[in-house]
Symmetry: C2
Subunit: 187 residues, 2 copies
DNA sequence: CAGTCGGGAGAACGTTTGTTCTCTCGCAAG
DNA sequence: CTTGCGAGAGAACAAACGTTCTCCCGACTG
């Protein structure tokens, strides 16, 4: 079997299982049967479970941000692009198997014992916040708005992860609209 | 040893260890030596680790909300009372051993396998949101403001948990001030 | 004082974990 | 054809887990 294919199948299985049930609840044996990749191969590709966890988070970060950017890219109006972030969140929350933010979950589970996981989560959040800052700057919003919208998005993700409802995305969107109005300039 | 004392010492140890390192990273044996309560007594007070986890979350919920309410109660101006929530969050984030929201962490770790943990987290978040709704209603804010401020608070908690910095509390406070202004009524 | 009950300390148990080892087979090179 | 390398399947391993059991002492009752 081609190493790249094995790697992908492994990461696919890791993502589904780690995200769906938590890292510590999934054993290497289950990963092997879910991916169809032998334990020997698994351990030459990822010398330890931690390495696999890191790779899982890194790939998820990339894909998550690419999906968001692709969704936003369908709009051209700068203000609509900012608000599209919250629409995308809503779709994500409502999708099958949604179980909160993989990075928040991983930090909750492993943050106390694995600094690498904390680092990965921090980089993911930073990258997302930078992206949001670009969008808000393009929309002509005041500079502090980026940080405010980032908090709304994080709050929506965390709340949706606990409640299981996509509603926080709509609420965050409506708050974002309010914040994007420069003071004292409603219709 | 008095059962109530044993129970408290157990919950103290559980809170420190579970919160600081995660539930699955702490074994019953460590709980025993940290609390000084024998395993036999431990298992008659909490027949399984899950029961102890639940009790830990429930006590933490109560204390957390009481501490917040006590802090808020020091102010009388309705608007200041709302903003005090974010000041309290800042103090919490900056305190020693802060490692994010115990409930978010527990859901990240056990949400996929323990519905009771998810329920406890949901109740905690609900109670907090209801409290925030009271405060905002008293401040004369529009009804949707409560949900908006809740998202800001949750976002600040999640972000501070990952980054370890108390700064998100200040940012959330400044966003909250902006949201509390009825549209078109700055100074 | 004798007897019994309850609890503390920690050994023991069975399971599960992450990781490594063994065995076997297919296939490519000489 | 034979020889050897690499990989797959899964047994094996040591450690750690949650939970239960054994042993022993110390205190209260008659």
């Amino acid at each position: 079997m081609d190493p790249d294919i094995a790697r992908n199948r492994l990461l696919d299985a890791a993502e589904e299982l780690f995200y769906g049930r938590g890292v510590q609840a999934v054993g290497m044996d289950e990963l092997r049967s879910a991916s169809g990749v032998s334990l020997k191969r698994l351990y030459q590709l990822f010398p330890s479970k931690n390495d696999l966890v890191e790779a899982y988070l890194r790939r998820r970060d990339t894909r998550w941000r690419e999906a968001l950017a692709a969704y936003v890219a369908e709009r051209t109006d700068p203000r609509a692009r900012v608000l599209a972030v919250f629409d995308w969140l809503h779709d994500w929350f409502a999708g099958p198997g949604f179980r909160g933010c993989a990075f928040l979950n991983a930090v909750g589970e492993l943050g106390g014992i694995s600094p690498a996981v904390v680092t990965a989560a921090r980089e993911h959040k930073d990258a997302f916040h930078r992206y949001l800052a670009e969008l808000t700057a393009d929309a002509g919003a005041p500079p502090e708005a980026a940080g405010h919208l980032a908090l709304l998005a994080e709050g929506a993700i965390a709340t949706a992860g606990v409640t299981g409802s996509p509603e926080p995305a709509r609420r965050a969107r409506s708050a974002a609209e309010a914040l994007l109005q420069p003071k004292g300039s409603p219709a």
